[in-house]
């Protein structure tokens, strides 16, 4: 069989292991596979924020790690730092901080951000050194590979890969379209 493939779909459903913003019963779920050192993800960051604002409780947003570590030398540690912050209840604060300070992602910066976010910075430093969240990040990554993630950022809207543009209007149109269908 030569392959005509249907659209790529998310193989790992959103669940307990995920970092989630928005209600579980939202009409639409947007999943982003991203890399904290990727300039395109940096560009997507305020776009997603605006889309979240405009859709409010109708949207659930999930971020999963997809660090391209051969290309972005700081991406793996940045992802682990976000997970470490998540273990202390501040994943999203760190997620935002990392994108806003994408130009400074050395370990010392990551630890400094932990301090600024009033996390236990020593614990975060230890967990980075011990690669405590390496497996979690790899699981995110492999779930992305299996789902047809083909670069960063890759978005999935209600489990289907979004192959179109992802400026605010394009994303909103796609999300609203799905949301209408659900209602």
């Amino acid at each position: 069989m030569s392959a005509k493939r249907e659209r790529a779909v998310l193989v790992l459903p959103v669940g307990e292991r995920d970092h989630v913003q928005g209600p579980a019963n939202a009409a639409v779920t947007l999943v982003e596979y991203g890399d904290f050192e990727c300039p395109h993800c940096r560009r997507a960051y305020p776009i997603v924020k605006e889309v979240q604002e405009r859709m409010g409780a109708r949207l659930r947003f999930v971020f999963r790690n997809f660090p391209l570590t051969e290309l972005h030398l700081h991406a793996q540690h940045a992802a682990e730092a976000a997970e470490a912050a998540g273990a202390q209840g501040k994943f999203w604060e760190m997620h935002d901080r990392l994108f806003e300070r994408q130009f400074a992602l050395e370990d010392e910066h990551l630890i400094e951000y932990a301090r600024e976010l009033e996390l236990d910075a020593a614990r975060l430093a230890r967990e980075l050194a011990a690669h405590t969240y390496k497996a979690k990040v790899r699981d995110d990554f492999m779930s992305g590979v299996r789902s047809g993630v083909n670069g960063t950022p890759t978005f999935f809207i209600n489990n289907v890969r979004h192959d179109q543009a992802w400026d605010v209007e394009a994303l909103l149109t796609a999300l609203e379209g799905v949301s209408e269908g659900v209602r």
């Binding site: 493939r5 193989v11 492999m142 670069g151 960063t152």
Partner: protein, 166 residues
């Protein structure tokens, strides 16, 4: 026969077809032949050009996933019509850890034999082939030219090859 048919149909070589052997430069002074990899699965990834202006492009993605391919003992070969010197610079720049083959002279000859040359554009399709250890195409896929196909299809194909053998 299948080969002739699918070539007449203008599409990529289909599953079950014998993969045409080739020898192409991987660096200015080294060449790689498909037959070198007999006994192991080979992934042929045709792509339009080095230096596409996105990060996390197709080759960078495969570079990250190499350990997964290696679990199946599979060899990944990237192929485009770019020359060996261009490949060398590109591979160094992106820190790629697999060979990029130059389908450069005569231009696109291998791509044509696999049914994935784009006349007019002068490049190849974004086409994937998984070839088994016996040199038979077991899976092929052509992605819309602007869409990076990712790696999920390749991994599924390798998995089903491995299941068969087991």
């Amino acid at each position: 026969m299948t080969e002739t048919m699918s070539r007449l149909a203008g599409g990529p070589l289909a599953s079950g077809t014998e993969a045409p052997d080739f020898t192409l430069h991987s660096t200015p002074d080294q060449a790689v032949s498909l037959r070198d990899f007999r006994g192991r699965p080979v992934i042929l990834a045709f792509y339009p050009a080095d230096w596409s202006p996105v990060c996390g492009d197709q080759m960078a993605l495969y570079n990250e996933i190499l350990p997964e391919f290696q679990r199946y003992r599979a060899e990944l070969l990237g192929i485009s019509v770019d020359g060996a010197w261009c490949h060398l610079a590109f591979a160094q720049h992106r820190r790629l850890h697999f060979p990029l083959l130059a389908d450069f002279e005569p231009k696109g000859a291998v791509a044509r034999r696999y049914g994935v040359y784009r006349d007019g554009d002068g490049t190849t399709e974004r086409a994937l082939f998984v070839i088994d250890g016996g040199g038979i195409v077991r899976w092929s896929y052509v992605s819309p030219i602007g869409v990076n196909p990712g790696a999920d299809g390749i991994l599924r194909a390798l998995e089903s090859l491995a299941t068969e053998r087991a």
